[in-house]
């Protein structure tokens, strides 16, 4: 009833080609953006901006990057954190070494550097597939961190190999508070997410999906395999690189290469598996699940033992949190192996029929 596209006719090509062809979707996205850009800054406090929302957006962007590669183009990668590291360190270097460099340009250039690295390490994908490719991208993970730690130039010869993000200034306006950094992150993530949504409906996106589903068939119908695969690596790494730059500049401020270890790559892979492989929305839901749920559990447990007034040894609480988190992952994977985004899709189907199901 509420969610039904019947009666919405498209009479021009441009109407037919818009990103969200259904009116309800447009309204929902519009409302979501208004909430994120206007309502949230009015009601949230610094804890929310600095500890919850900004990291959530940054990890969503990284998950989105990986989802383009793994979910849409079918190339399994374990090098996500390495691409983020490239983005973070190169953004820092552009800012440091070129005076008066606009920060947004640094972010874009950092993303392009990550793309270049992505293309190089995407080359093996032309020959190997699946789990074997995942192992090949592991090399990227280790090589990039090794290079960042070995060559002092990347960290401006800091003794501990740590970089410190400078000021964020756009057209003379300095982004300093957590709320401002949140808005900057949100702006960048919104633009990139809409771009990704749009890209996946285009010829390129369809080529990605064709390669994912069967690359031999794709090449038979004339899709250039090499170009498509490398393009997928380049775009995916660009997103991850920008996410890494935001991680350094808008979130932590000071970053060591070790922060971008294999563990982070795995976490981002889990995000898209839980959220939904091959879904833009899934990247966001997955990032929310992996980054926010442990925090929620720890807050809830804190309040819980407070209410009961029972002294539970803290080591127990910490371990129970991990156990519950793990069980929830297993639970959701059993209930919905296609990810949480699939649940949203199912509810949309149901809404179409509601209140008169078959």
């Amino acid at each position: 009833m509420l969610y039904r596209e019947a009666g919405q006719f498209r009479s021009t090509y441009s109407e037919d080609q818009q990103i969200f062809p259904i009116r309800q979707d447009r309204i929902a996205i519009g409302l979501l953006l208004v909430v994120a850009f206007v309502v949230v800054p009015l009601v949230a406090n610094q804890y929310w901006f600095a500890a919850i929302l900004t990291p959530f957006l940054i990890f969503s962007l990284a998950a989105l990057g990986l989802n383009i590669l793994t979910g849409y183009a079918g190339q399994l990668s374990l090098g996500t954190a390495a691409f983020m590291a490239v983005g973070a360190f190169m953004a820092y270097n552009f800012e440091l070494r070129i005076p008066g460099m606009p920060i947004l340009v640094s972010f874009v250039l950092a993303g392009l550097c990550a793309s270049a690295v992505g293309i190089v390490f995407g080359l093996p994908s032309l020959r190997i597939k699946g789990f074997y490719l995942a192992v090949a991208t592991l090399a990227c993970q280790f090589f990039v961190l090794w290079a960042l730690q070995r060559f002092g130039w990347f960290s401006n010869f800091s003794s501990s190999g740590v970089i410190t993000a400078g000021k964020i200034e756009i057209f003379g306006y300095v982004f300093q508070t957590a709320a401002e950094k949140y808005l900057l992150t949100l702006g960048i993530v919104t633009v990139l997410a809409l771009a990704a949504k749009n890209l996946m409906r285009s010829e390129t996106g369809r080529a990605f999906m064709a390669v994912r589903d069967m690359d031999v068939a794709a090449s038979v119908i004339g899709i250039p395999i090499m170009r498509t695969k490398l393009l997928a690596f380049a775009i995916s790494s660009f997103y991850c690189g920008v996410a890494g730059a935001l991680y350094a500049f808008c979130y932590l401020g000071t970053v060591e290469p070790e922060a971008f270890n294999l563990d982070l790559s795995f976490r981002i892979l889990f995000m898209i598996i839980i959220g939904g492989v091959g879904s833009i929305l899934g990247s966001f839901i997955g990032a929310a699940f992996i980054t926010l749920l442990p925090i929620l559990l720890s807050v809830l447990f804190g309040g819980f033992s407070h209410l009961l007034g029972v002294e539970i040894p803290h080591a127990w609480i910490s371990n129970i949190e991990l156990i519950i988190f793990g069980s929830l992952i297993v639970f959701f994977l059993i209930v919905e192996p296609h990810g949480l985004a699939r649940l949203w899709q199912i509810s949309k189907e149901k809404l179409r029929l509601w209140p008169f199901p078959h």
Partner: protein, 439 residues
């Protein structure tokens, strides 16, 4: 939707917690870790730190009547979780967080900007950025007692003493076996400077994290045949190194560990292989110090206390936690002497307390900690304050102190600290404070 429910529930929990705070309390966040690969260190230090504050509450009724409160937050030794814990805890209590012990070099790095902006002191006692010792550039960061560079110079001095004079170090071979992380790499530049000054030869060998695979490294060490090996490890890397040394026939009393390699948890898993191994320390082990006895009397005798395994009370990590909290309490006391006795202190006032902190031998005796930790004198210019190290040797059952407090060589460390801090200030566009204008 899923996300919104989470948001609302978490918001309710966070906000309701904050409202419970009352006046006349000093809130100290306990952001440590109780799970994960570094939990042996985390639980011990957290236990000591929390027990000492509870002991002060029980024995003295807090500092001039202001009791310490706290709340635990699990950081998992993970930067993102550490930042979340910091943000969650910083506004609790009547005056917000007093100060924070991040207990991880990575989290310390992530909090430098935030703590400076929020005016909450970040205490990295025996870890963190060495160049933060320059308080002009890092007003809210305190790598107290001894930073890594100072520790390293003390270590070379100790080797010199063993060799019979610093000039005897000429031509000696030293291997620096380090954990391949920001923490591990921190001492490479200072070792290179010292190698040049004293004429010894240093080889840096990296061990990839977490460090449970060291065959190739020890093969290389066997080829070099060094006079000393500096073990700059953390967690599982330490017992692995000791076992590998035994296998390759390298004498353990020629291995000198840093203080994150020198606890019971580092040597007991190595068994016999650890016998004779030497490690640095800025605190000693043992439960027979009056301060630890007081904790036993006022906390554990009443059936309370953090440690489930009471035998760990008095271990290296536990006592290190006690040192952490002694500094917290003394900083609050110093701040109260100036800003009003019996009042809860804000982070900014505690920073003043830290910068004017003096713990001399007399005060140590009053605290029941003579020989337990070193005297401390912090200033605006010098956020390190101590700079001394004791060396201890594992005899198979316990750590035996084998040296007096060995002071560091500030003529090497201080210029490096200032140069590195100046570079940081330049990158960040910070104008260093003028310490003569601080009151």
């Amino acid at each position: 939707m899923n996300r919104t429910t989470i948001a609302i529930a978490a918001a309710a929990a966070v906000f309701s917690d904050g409202a419970l705070a009352q006046a006349k309390e000093q809130f100290v966040p306990h952001n440590y870790y109780w799970v994960g690969p570094f939990a042996p260190g985390g639980t011990g230090i957290a236990g000591g730190a929390i027990d000492y504050l509870n002991m002060i509450n029980a024995r003295d009724g807090g500092v001039n009547g202001v009791k310490f409160t706290g709340e635990k937050c699990e950081t998992e030794y993970n930067n993102a979780r550490g930042v979340e814990c910091y943000e969650r805890s910083k506004n609790k209590g009547p005056t917000g967080a007093t100060l924070i012990h991040p207990l991880s070099t990575g989290i310390t790095y992530s909090l430098i900007d935030k703590g400076t902006q929020d005016k909450i002191p970040i205490l990295s006692v025996g870890y963190g950025r060495a160049d933060a010792s320059d308080g002009r550039v890092f007003p809210y960061v305190f790598p107290l007692i001894t930073n890594y560079w100072s520790q390293n110079t003390a270590k070379i001095k100790f080797m010199g003493q063993k060799a019979g004079g610093m000039d005897k170090l000429k031509g000696k071979k030293i291997v620096n076996l380090y954990h391949d992380s920001a923490y591990g790499k921190e001492t490479i530049p200072v070792l290179d400077v010292q190698a040049k000054k004293y004429g010894f030869e240093v080889t840096h060998i990296a061990v990839p994290s977490p460090g449970n695979e060291q065959q190739a490294q020890w093969l290389q060490i066997r080829q070099i045949q060094p006079d000393w090996v500096i073990l700059r490890g953390w967690g599982v890397m330490n017992p692995t190194a000791l076992k590998a040394a035994q296998r390759s026939g390298f004498a353990r009393d020629k291995i000198i560990g840093v203080w994150w390699s020198g606890a019971e948890e580092d040597v007991i898993p190595a068994g016999e292989a650890a016998k004779g191994y030497i490690a640095a320390g800025f605190n000693v082990s043992g439960a027979n110090y009056p301060v630890v006895q007081d904790i036993m009397k006022h906390v554990y005798a009443k059936g309370k206390g953090e440690m489930e395994d009471k035998s760990r009370v008095g271990s290296i990590y536990y006592n290190r936690g006690v040192v952490f909290s002694m500094i917290t309490v003394e900083a609050v006391r110093t701040a109260q002497n100036r800003f009003g006795k019996g009042q809860p202190m804000t982070g900014e006032q505690v920073r003043w307390g830290l910068e004017n902190l003096v713990i001399d031998e007399k005060r140590l005796k009053e605290l029941g900690a003579t020989g337990f930790m070193q005297p401390l004198k912090v200033s605006c210019l010098d956020h390190e304050g101590g700079g001394q190290v004791k060396f201890q040797q594992w005899d198979g059952k316990q750590w035996k102190v084998i040296s007096d407090w060995i002071s560091s060589d500030q003529s090497i460390v201080r210029p490096m600290v200032e140069a590195s801090a100046a570079q940081y200030a330049k990158e960040k566009g910070i104008t260093p404070r003028d310490c003569s204008k601080e009151k």
